[in-house]
Symmetry: C2
Subunit: 187 residues, 2 copies
């Protein structure tokens, strides 16, 4: 299994945002929607061996974690609104400590970065990390940030993890996922 | 200059579509919007050395060509609606044979694939093409199709052009652009 985790620093933790305003009212939810697209879409196919974890840290109920499983997902189209609509349904669902399914293949629970770091071993995408192409094996579990840098508190949690870089220019999170999956495809 | 040309087989050639329905009423305009995003966005920067050409072949006035210049573009945000809004303005503008500017860095004219092929030498993205990573130099002008294959008529126009592939799995056009730009960044 390949796992991509994206931290949405201002992403809404309620379902009452408008899918016509994903960048604004939903706290740059558009970034997370594009990451979902990058995780799963192939031409006329889906990447069934990918799980996408989104840590949402915006108001009013942070943090929440949304999990999307490529092996189970339905009703997902490539456009941002489609992913946004599934996230809206997930975030509208009352949730507790255990993942609860909102629509087929989409799950939500309370909890943030510290919890998921205790569950899986992750590698961080970082412009100063080791060159992806020069690694003997591509790490399977990867953490990215949205349009903002990791906070000091997050960096403290992440400080002992390995770091890799996808190239000389700093890319958006969704583009980074695309480049990594292409590297995995080639191995 | 790097040039990406994407053929939108059903993409609207009028500005009267809704940016709330880019996949449906606008003829999979969402695909073209994501290609614009992939062409230009870096983290907190834009790729000024890229030009994006979109050939729109949907009703009611096909074909039209939209050109977006990274060196000049303004008012472009990463979300699909932002690119969709600029395309809507371009397509609402009456246009002739010469590129006419609709908003800063966005131009529109009549004409399709045959015309642009007479202006630049292009290479085609094709799953059976030569491996991108094994090429001595990455071609600078590249043609992609949207969610549909090239038509027989288009293939006839393209039949003498070189073909390259980005990897073992067939990717969406926007993901393909991201992978190619990453390869260019690394050279």
């Amino acid at each position: 299994m390949k796992r991509f985790l994206v931290v949405g620093h201002r992403a809404s933790t309620t379902g009452d945002f408008s899918i016509n305003d994903l960048p604004g009212g939903a706290g740059r939810m558009d970034v997370l929607c594009r990451c979902i697209n990058s995780c799963f879409f192939l031409s006329h196919d889906l990447r069934r061996d990918v799980e996408c974890y989104l840590i949402l840290k915006g108001e009013p109920n942070p943090p929440k974690t949304v999990l999307i499983r490529g092996s189970e997902i339905r009703y997902l189209n490539p456009d941002e609104r489609s992913a946004g609509s599934l996230l809206k349904k997930a975030l509208a669902l009352p949730c507790g400590e255990i993942f609860r399914e909102s629509t087929k293949g989409v799950y939500v629970r309370k909890g943030g970065l510290d919890r998921i770091l205790s569950e899986y071993q992750f590698t961080i995408l970082d412009e100063n990390g080791a060159n992806l192409r020069e690694m003997d094996t591509v790490p399977k579990n990867l953490i990215l940030s949205d349009h903002m840098n990791f906070t000091e508190e997050e960096e403290e949690l992440l400080k002992d993890l390995k770091r890799i870089s996808v190239g000389p220019k700093i890319l958006h999170a969704d583009h980074t996922i695309t480049v990594i999956l292409n590297e995995m495809d080639r191995r």
